[in-house]
């Protein structure tokens, strides 16, 4: 218990310190990092919600081993909503499309943007209520899942893709939603191991492998289409992520953490089917998710360092919250 409390204090302290460092070094330029942190964290409750809904719809016990953690994670959605509250006040600092008068934008007007985000959260919280109550006809769960797929895709486009108003990829939303599922599953596998190291993992490793490979496929296809068509408006988005040794190194790190290492590792039954190796692989996938979100957002920032500090700060605060919640629940819950 003592170690848990220490963990919470260290993570929270680190989070506050990093956030403060971001603000001190970059001022308002740290906001993109804050946004990226919030977006990376909200993926866990959203992905958990979608996995639980999908399992209820399709049937079968494939989330069984991690279902309690998924449910607990899904219940943190209101907490993630809190993270988004300051963002409407900083839209001008984050998005380059704000403040345009001519031509009057329709989709990218500030009021409509905020209204949409409110709408997304309303859909998700209603879906959460439906799922937590345990009731809900299969049709209702199916509708919730369909609504999540559409609203999640649009949210990804709104929050991250419009950081560069010229970039337009119809795959972006699907990638965003698929990333949620993988991140939530990895998180649940990791936490389940931390709470109950002996609990059998069932199909979780196989599911994680399938998810990681699917996202890698989608990521690669988006890149391949953009590379082959070579349209400047789209290509410059990737060019920016490959400009300079640091950017290339970071891109390679993201590819390794979210695709290469977990795919190779989880292909082995010795990793996929055993608790501890699976937990390590899941940890790498989760790290890959966080790095990937940073990779999507931070290159659009004016100064990368303050944004990166703020991103790390928010993620650290999220970790503190996660540890605190887990400590409050006994494994039997």
């Amino acid at each position: 218990m003592h170690a848990t409390r220490l963990g919470i204090v260290v993570a929270a302290g680190l989070g506050v310190a990093l956030l403060a460092a971001g603000v001190v070094t970059g001022g308002a330029r740290a906001w993109i990092g804050y946004l990226a942190g919030a977006v990376a964290l909200v993926a866990i409750p959203l992905g958990s919600l979608a996995l639980l809904a999908a399992n209820r719809l399709i049937g079968g016990g494939w989330t069984g081993p991690v279902a309690p953690v998924l449910l607990a994670a899904a219940r943190t959605l209101p907490l993630a909503l809190l993270l988004f509250l300051p963002i409407p006040f900083a839209l001008g600092e984050i998005y380059p499309w704000t403040g345009r008068a001519d031509p009057a934008p329709v989709w990218l007007s500030e009021g409509f943007f905020i209204g949409r985000t409110v709408g997304y959260f309303a859909i998700w919280l209603a879906s959460l209520a439906l799922l937590v109550r345990g009731g809900g006809q299969r049709v209702a769960v199916g509708v919730a899942l369909a609504l999540y797929t559409v609203s999640g895709s649009l949210a990804g486009v709104d929050w991250l893709m419009t950081l560069d108003p010229l970039f337009n990829s119809s795959m972006f939303g699907l990638l965003f939603v698929a990333g949620h599922l993988v991140a939530a599953l990895a998180f649940a596998a990791l936490v389940t191991y931390a709470r109950e190291p002996e609990r059998p993992v069932g199909m979780v490793g196989g599911l994680l492998l399938a998810g990681v490979m699917t996202v890698a496929y989608l990521d690669y296809m988006q890149f391949l289409v953009v590379w082959a068509a070579d349209h400047p408006a789209e290509a410059q988005w990737y060019v920016r992520r490959g400009a300079g040794a640091l950017a290339v190194g970071f891109t390679l790190l993201v590819i390794a953490a979210k695709a290469l290492v977990p795919t190779v590792a989880l292909a082995w039954p010795a990793v996929r089917l055993r608790q501890r190796p699976l937990a390590i692989a899941a940890g790498i996938v989760l790290a890959g998710h966080l790095l990937n979100t940073a990779w999507l957002a931070l290159p659009e920032a004016d100064g990368v360092v303050p944004a990166a500090l703020a991103f790390a700060g928010v993620v650290s605060l999220g970790a503190a919250a996660a540890i605190a919640r887990l400590a409050a629940q006994s494994p039997a819950a």
Binding site: W107, A146, T149, V150, S153, V157, N168, S169, S170, M171, F172, G173, L174, M213, Y217, L218, M221, Q222, L224, V225, V226, A228, A229, H231, A233
Partner: protein, 446 residues
């Protein structure tokens, strides 16, 4: 564990039921009629090809800007139909789902025949089909070398490797059943032929173990199925044409392919069950599962349509937005709405369990989906080319008689191959259905 007598009692009726169809059953008039009809349609295909080779592609309706017509529509559509066979047989095998066992044999046959037809179209659409091998990177004196950065070349590799993989997988799965046919054959010539085809299979434990390893290894290679239709999608997405260039195209094509393929499997399952009285093997439960998969694939396809349209509008590009308008309310709208009504509209009937579990109902929905997905390919391919950046160069496309001959003839060829398949190859995987029956304690087939 069951003893030998139990096993015999459990397995014998099933083995006899399936093997009889191939070995002993008197050939019915209906089968001859089906063979005759499909052979007549295949003759149209031959006529279409001879005509084409004699006159050249000028007899088709294609011209600048629409240089891809029914030839490429069919190459894309047929290879798409093939996808469900691979999904059902290989990927579901890896997920250790046993319901596939009644379906995989004819679904794989469907895959093989559909890929074969899909391979014919790109070759005959070349102005000079006799030099099709120039597409392969073969060292040669003329110094002809393919462009490795072109999706056209990726498609050559994708189609060919897909054909090889599905043929290998199908044959591997057939070996134990060929041995069963050999052992039960009454005529010597039948025993001789099926014995050769079984490659000396004796059913020893070692043979089974090796076979199992190989079968799973080939199944694991089936993930290339995803790359096949992705490479097809790259033909369009890698261009800059409004209505073609969209990053969602690879997954949209893959899911759409699986969607149309599942619809074809449902149709074939219904026809086979009715023709050969296989109610105890292809059950209502199978139709329920296939229908659910079809519904899921269809809804996901609809979602990808939504993404493609939204982002064409969202990007703000004048041409892309104009294409959206043309497709939804303009001169191309009839293609869009007819395709959506047939594929996604009729599909909604599958929300009702009664439709899902009825072979006739599911097959009717499947037929609408297959036609709808053909129209979708037609709309994307010809519609995209007909309306590019230069309005003064816009020109519509209408297929000519030689193209329709090939269209109908290809359908005939598929039917012909399938009719022959039902007669000479066990159309259900005997040993896998037996294994499933044994695992279930003989509840279903006893």
């Amino acid at each position: 564990m069951m003893d030998a007598a139990d096993r015999h009692a459990l397995f014998e009726p099933l083995t006899r039921q399936i093997a009889e169809i191939t070995l002993h059953r008197r050939i019915r008039v209906a089968w001859w009629l089906a063979l005759l009809a499909s052979a007549a349609l295949t003759a149209l295909f031959v006529v279409g090809i001879v005509w084409l080779f004699a006159e050249g592609v000028g007899i088709w309706g294609i011209n600048i800007p629409v240089t891809w017509g029914l030839d490429i529509v069919n190459a894309v559509w047929w290879v798409g139909i093939a996808h469900a066979g691979t999904l059902i047989s290989a990927l579901v095998l890896l997920m250790r789902q046993t319901w596939r066992n009644a379906l995989n044999r004819f679904a794989e046959a469907m895959t093989l025949f559909a890929v074969t037809i899909a391979l014919i179209f790109p070759v005959i659409h070349l102005g000079r089909p006799e030099v099709f091998y120039w597409m392969l990177p073969i060292p040669n004196a003329a110094g002809v070398w393919p462009q490795f950065r072109s999706p056209l070349l990726w498609d050559v590799f994708a189609y060919l490797s897909y054909f090889l993989l599905s043929a290998t997988f199908w044959y591997l799965g057939l070996m134990p059943d060929f041995a069963t046919l050999r052992d039960r054959a009454r005529a010597r010539w039948q025993a001789w032929i099926y014995g050769r085809l079984a490659l000396g299979w004796r059913g020893s434990a070692v043979a089974w173990a090796r076979w199992r390893q190989t079968y799973l290894a080939v199944a694991a290679c089936a993930f290339i199925v995803v790359s096949v239709h992705s490479a097809v999608a790259m033909l369009f997405a890698s261009s800059l044409l409004p209505g073609w260039h969209s990053t969602i195209f690879p997954p949209m094509f893959v899911v759409g392919a699986v969607f149309s393929g599942l619809a074809t499997v449902v149709i074939l399952a219904a026809v086979l069950r009715w023709s050969f009285c296989l109610d105890n093997v292809i059950t209502d439960e199978h139709f329920d599962i296939l229908s659910r998969l079809m519904l899921g694939a269809g809804l996901f396809t609809g979602y990808t349509y939504g993404l493609a349209l939204f982002h064409a509008w969202f990007g703000g590009d004048l041409h892309a937005r104009h294409t959206v308008v043309l497709r939804l309310a303009g001169s191309l709208a009839w293609q869009t709405w007819l395709s959506v009504a047939l594929s996604l509209g009729v599909l909604q009937a599958l929300w009702w369990a009664r439709v899902r579990r009825s072979p006739a109902g599911a097959a009717l929905v499947g037929a609408a989906v297959v036609v709808g997905m053909w129209l979708e390919r037609y709309a994307i391919i010809t519609g995209g080319l007909a309306r590019d950046f230069l309005p003064s160069a816009w020109r519509d496309y209408a297929p000519t008689l030689p193209e329709w001959l090939l269209q109908i003839g290809a359908f005939g060829l598929f039917c012909l191959l399938f009719v022959l398949f039902t007669r000479f190859v066990p159309l259900i995987s005997i040993f896998e259905v037996k294994a499933e029956a044994a695992a279930n304690g003989g509840e279903r087939h006893g």
